[in-house]
């Protein structure tokens, strides 16, 4: 949902700028999203989010995470052609390699839960960003193709 609002916001800013141009009177009223971008927006909206969060040092999925992943799994079962990658993130206070491992485990736990709910294992790959990208410990499901 947040992503839709963001896309709308960007579109509004863009259209405001366009309206100042001469000879251009027609404003687009809908953001134009096509192909995989449209699927991304739909996936995020239908799943209630692309991101699940973990406690510090934890690799265990909590109830809120499972709710999101259950919805993600339902969407993925309806879109068997779409391939996703789960990107795990470690904690900033951790050491480099342990954070990489924790990120990988978070991604694997997330992937395992999706597979448990009937998503073909070939549809989901994993990676880990360790502490390379700042932010809370989390796993993000991204549409690849």
């Amino acid at each position: 949902m947040r992503k839709i609002l963001f896309v709308l916001g960007v579109a509004l800013v863009a259209s405001a700028a366009q309206s100042q141009l001469p000879f251009l009177t027609k404003r687009p009223t809908q953001p134009i999203v096509q192909g995989i971008d449209a699927l991304r927006v739909d996936f995020a909206a239908q799943s209630g989010g692309t991101t699940v969060y973990f406690g510090t040092e934890s690799v265990i999925l909590g109830a809120p995470a499972k709710t999101v992943l259950t919805a993600q799994a339902a969407w993925l079962r309806h879109h068997p052609d779409v391939v996703v990658r789960v990107e795990g993130y470690g904690d900033g206070a951790d050491t480099r390699d342990h954070a990489l491992a924790v990120g990988a485990r978070r991604a694997e736990e997330t992937r395992g839960f999706l597979v448990l709910l009937g998503v073909p294992s070939t549809q989901v790959s994993t990676t880990s960003w360790g502490k390379e990208r700042p932010g809370l410990g989390r796993a993000v499901t991204s549409l690849v193709r």
């Binding site: 480099r96 342990h98 990988a104 990676t127 700042p134």
Partner: protein, 431 residues
């Protein structure tokens, strides 16, 4: 005379004696008069000029140590070529020097240079060590570093760190837009060069003991994987095939094997593989994260970190994976261990309420000591001398730099590098 000289040079190799221990806090006083030359005329003048540069660099190298105190290198301390093997020590006794480093630079018909260095015990009037090398004129810095190492080893018994390299991850930009490139430089900061392009996130470079190869982690395939780079030819290949995430590589002391971590489902275990290729052998099987393996200098044992007991702790096992046992019991979490080259100590990162700090512990788990007070320190890497540790520190402003700390309790010193840096690795002595 020339032949006699070279014969002496060869015979004398490996006679380093420990006659002079670093006793005073200021270090052992060593005289480094400028290298002489057997050449005459214009050539001779050129060689004397190179010799002076080499001696000044030796003086500068030795000044960086706490064990040796060099007297200033002065042109007026010129000596003749025959004096290299028959030094007049009286002059240096009156200057209170305990050790004397002399030598020569000689031009060769093939355009290269022969550089010879001799170390004398001034009080006993005895030769302690000698070493000769043939180099291209552009390599004069390495020749100087070798002479510095010769004197350092003669006095302390430890390998010098002058002719060694440092690899690290050079960082620019912030947040998700950060660019990471692997850089390699001489340990004195010279010869800095980048060995990856910066279009792919890279982590944890680890130099082979002889400095010819570099194992590192790359996101080239979208996920972290260990790759092996030949520094001479720039040939680059994945360490192991397959789809699994792999990281935390380190060479064995002989350079023939590489230990690393690989994901196996949600399980992170330690594997070993020949550096030349082949199938990886799994060494640990416990659930949880086993990572950051590091060989003991004789190659018989491996120290690593594991959270199998609930929190990250240090464990030691035999190199075949048997006899795994925990060695850290000091409270807090222990990570990223590295075994020192003399086998006596293991450096580690300890995580606690006060953040991340660098410490050392004996391989049997006794004698734990913290060396830094920073809250964002990690990734210790031993100098080949086993007397100093290089590590990464994130300071209060969030910038990451490389620091050196000695075991004597003095404050860490920042290394000068062109930009931010992380994941440092100190090579063995080049040859």
């Amino acid at each position: 005379m020339k032949r006699f000289h070279l014969t002496l040079l060869l015979l004398g190799l490996g006679t380093a004696a420990h006659a002079q221990q670093a006793g005073s806090p200021a270090g052992t006083v060593i005289a480094v008069p400028p290298l002489t030359s057997p050449d005459s005329g214009n050539k001779g003048n050129q060689m004397l000029s190179v010799g002076f540069d080499i001696s000044k660099l030796i003086e500068s190298d030795l000044k960086q140590t706490s064990e040796l105190a060099p007297l200033p290198t002065k042109r007026e301390d010129y000596y003749s070529y025959p004096e290299v093997t028959a030094p007049s020590l009286y002059k240096w006794r009156t200057a209170h020097a305990k050790v004397l480093l002399m030598g020569f630079v000689q031009s060769r018909s093939d355009g290269r240079l022969t550089v010879g260095c001799y170390v004398y015990d001034v009080d006993k009037g005895r030769e302690m060590a000698r070493k000769g090398s043939v180099i291209a004129p552009s390599e004069w810095r390495r020749a100087a570093h070798k002479c510095s190492g010769l004197a350092y080893t003669a006095v302390t018994g430890s390998p010098g760190i002058f002719d060694t390299r440092i690899a690290y991850v050079a960082e620019s930009g912030v947040g998700d837009a950060r660019t990471k490139r692997i850089a390699v430089m001489d340990s004195d900061g010279n010869g800095h060069r980048y060995v990856t392009a910066g279009d792919t996130t890279v982590l944890t470079p680890r130099l082979a003991p002889n400095g010819s190869q570099l194992a590192y982690v790359s996101y080239a395939d979208g996920k972290p994987n260990v790759r092996l780079l030949e520094l001479g030819s720039n040939q680059d290949r994945p360490l192991v095939g397959g789809d699994a995430i792999s990281f935390a590589p380190r060479f064995s002391p002989d350079g023939g094997r590489i230990v690393f971590s690989m994901m196996n489902g949600p399980n992170c275990d330690i594997y070993v593989v020949n550096a030349g290729g082949g199938a990886a052998q799994r060494l640990t099987t416990s659930p949880g994260v086993d990572t950051d393996p590091s060989f003991s200098p004789d190659g018989s044992k491996i120290v690593f970190e594991s959270d199998r007991g609930g929190s990250q702790q240090l464990y030691v096992m035999n190199a075949d994976g048997t006899a795994q046992r925990r060695i850290s019991f000091g409270g807090g979490w222990y990570a990223s261990p590295e075994w020192s080259a003399d086998g006596e100590s293991i450096a580690f990162t300890r995580r606690g309420q006060d953040g991340r700090r660098i410490g050392i512990v004996k391989p049997d788990g006794t004698g734990e000591r913290l060396l830094t007070t920073g809250s964002g320190d990690e990734g210790p890497s031993w100098a080949p001398s086993s007397r100093e540790i290089l590590f990464q520190r994130v300071d209060a402003s969030g910038r990451s730099g490389l620091y050196r700390v000695t075991l004597d309790g003095s404050a860490p010193r920042a290394m000068t590098i062109p930009q931010d840096g992380s994941d440092p690795d100190w090579s063995g002595v080049m040859d």
